[in-house]
Symmetry: C2
């Protein structure tokens, strides 16, 4: 069962006017960050905020009348669920979505809002499988697999056609790998229209499944990752041979790279990427030598990140940049002491965010106290200047580790 450029082109004709032709824009600030010439395809602007719209619509449109009547079922904690629910409703097809009970609230609600029946089952996708099988046996509904399906793969591949339409001379595409549907479709399409283009895959370090399969390695798979959209334990049967043939190499990215990439999209490109959506940029940060000086196309493949996690990443990045700094001071426990310190910090241009005053620690003198202060600073040099001024004031400042909440 070979998928070809012609299949992707057919999918593109089906999608015309249905899925958004998302923007493909030069990203000069990301170019500055990475030393490459970066272009971003904003798949996070699709209606369900991920590329999954494409494959889901192509698959659902290809169903017979009889199949549509029986309805569809999908097993997904995230973007595939929303895409299937959305397009099923548009096409008048009943949809059931089975999700692990651990699915973030925001994703359950978004899927429900598109009119699908939600079934919560099991701790992981693997544990949902039995329930899915039971529902299929009962209702004879059609399974919409998130990646191991020729229609899905062809649908996702339409992204690369649009990218190369606009920037025909890209040197390399960097594409996240979960089950492999996104990279397989886009590798077929991109290499079809531009045979010399290089395809680089990205997996989360905790989920190197495709790499294990390709290299015969048996590296451990599992753990909590920001890139839950590509945290997949089983790659596709259809996708592996495509990746083996067309993908040059696979970069593994760790959590710090993913966080930095999410933050860079937000602060430099003013756009919201989920962890998996930022994986391509994370790979550029993790292995810059692969991309330097080249024309790189990134697929920002999804934007569905929990606002609380995003807020936490932003604050952590400010701490990494020394724009939010926490330190402990040793002070005399007497009236006026806090006022003196607060005034000093004010004169230094440090904006106080948090103060925690303690008298019960054993490592301060009996008549002393300890004061934990978190301030906003301009940058690393400013933070250092503040620490020096506090030391000169006799407060024995000690930096505390970042305490970004949650």
């Amino acid at each position: 069962m070979t998928i070809t450029l012609a299949d992707v082109e057919r999918a593109r004709r089906m999608l015309a006017g249905v899925a958004l032709r998302t923007p493909m824009l030069a990203a000069p600030k990301l170019s500055g960050l990475t030393g490459a010439e970066v272009f971003v395809k904003y798949e996070n602007l699709q209606v369900t905020n991920s590329f999954k719209d494409r494959g889901a619509f192509v698959k659902l449109s290809a169903l017979s009348e009889e199949e549509r009547r029986r309805g569809v079922i999908a097993m997904s904690a995230g973007n595939h669920a929303q895409a299937v629910a959305y397009h099923a409703r548009r096409l008048g097809i009943p949809a059931t979505i089975v999700m692990p009970i651990t699915t973030p609230f925001v994703k359950i609600k978004a899927t429900e809002a598109f009119g699908a029946e939600i079934v919560l089952e099991g701790e992981t996708l693997a544990e949902c499988q039995n329930r899915v099988d039971a529902i299929i046996a009962e209702r004879q509904c059609v399974l919409v697999h998130p990646y191991d399906d020729p229609a899905i793969i062809a649908g996702q591949g339409t992204i690369a056609l649009e990218m190369l339409d606009e920037i025909g001379d890209l040197d390399v595409l960097v594409i996240p790998i979960g089950g492999g549907g996104l990279i397989a479709g886009n590798a077929i399409a991109a290499r079809g229209v531009r045979p010399i283009i290089e395809i680089v895959g990205v997996e989360a370090k905790f989920y190197p499944c495709m790499r294990n399969v390709l290299t015969g390695a048996n590296d451990p798979v599992g753990g909590s990752t920001l890139a839950e959209g590509i945290a997949v334990k089983n790659v596709g049967v259809l996708t592996v041979p495509v990746v083996r043939e067309l993908v040059k190499n696979i970069v593994l990215v760790d959590e710090a790279h993913l966080e930095r990439a999410v933050n860079a999209y937000l602060t430099l490109q003013k756009t919201m990427a989920e962890g998996a959506g930022a994986a391509g940029l994370a790979a550029m940060l993790a292995a810059p030598e692969l991309f330097r000086g080249r024309k790189v196309g990134l697929i920002l493949c999804g934007g569905n990140i929990d606002p609380r996690i995003l807020a936490s990443i932003m604050v952590r990045e400010l701490e990494r940049d020394d724009r939010i700094v926490s330190f402990r001071l040793t002070i005399m426990d007497r009236p006026g002491e806090l006022g003196a310190i607060a005034s000093l910090l004010g004169e230094l241009g440090a904006n106080i965010l948090e103060v925690d005053h303690r008298r019960l620690f054993l490592d301060v003198p009996a008549k002393g106290a300890s004061l934990d202060v978190t301030v906003e600073t301009r940058d690393h040099a400013h933070a250092e200047a503040i620490m020096r001024a506090l030391a000169r004031g006799g407060y024995r400042p000690a930096r505390l580790a970042a305490r970004a909440s949650n």
Copy 2:
């Protein structure tokens, strides 16, 4: 000095290939939120992340060789500064930017990064003026006014031409007003190509300057607003007559509307808007009856918001939605009590974010203690269920006001 559609069309030809033709996309989730059919023009994706790129380039390109040699000066705390600095460097023109010393660090750094000379002076823009005059007298450089200049106004107006190119039958454009350059240019352009289109202006409630001028009112002007990009105390001489003639009405938006709009852009559209950039959407939230059922074009005119402020808005919105809830419990001060409560919260599906245990309050029994807990919940109903369960457990829960930091 009348600016015409022909001026805007000329500006558009100058900008071709220089400023980005930003995406103009349907925003179905914002349509759902507002009851209108909403389209967004993503000016936050310009290189300096605001529409100011357009006017600045048009103005700088129109300078004579002699003027270019002498250099330019601009007075701005924000987006205008970055746009002038960026295009001046591209055109090889020396640029000096005078900013108030209160300018957020992120904006100073961004402008410096574009190679301009930064002069920090005074608490407000008004206080910068003398310094600007002195520098002009000394260097004979050309002032690039942020709005009261025909070239700037014509440059900004190119946005509406692009919007109507893509969606020709828009009923109304909603456009933020600071000094009035953005709305004047776009009103001229939009009404020029589509005479029946309605133009609605937006001002921050704390800065109703244009409205004061048009209505003869004398409402107070000043205060701290999230929309610092339109917090202007003097509207333009050139802009007022255009607004008087072409703008149907002006909506004032308060801080809560601005925060909700910034959050909606982020969580629903996956894009980052600064306060002024979200003002159009804020106006739709403030006065939905003006827009319901109509085809509305929003100019998301800027995306330069401090990450810390954005993170704080996101958390506050979660609190408003009861997805983060804080309450105080009265408990017996004995071993095991905290464990029992934490276990109960776990069974209820409440994710504990913060715990603060106090024994020193006077309003709890001498042998009692008070426990402040912040949890993440699914939604309002879930929060209520948790409160009821705690009451049944005898913990006398009392909701605490939102405590979003900063």
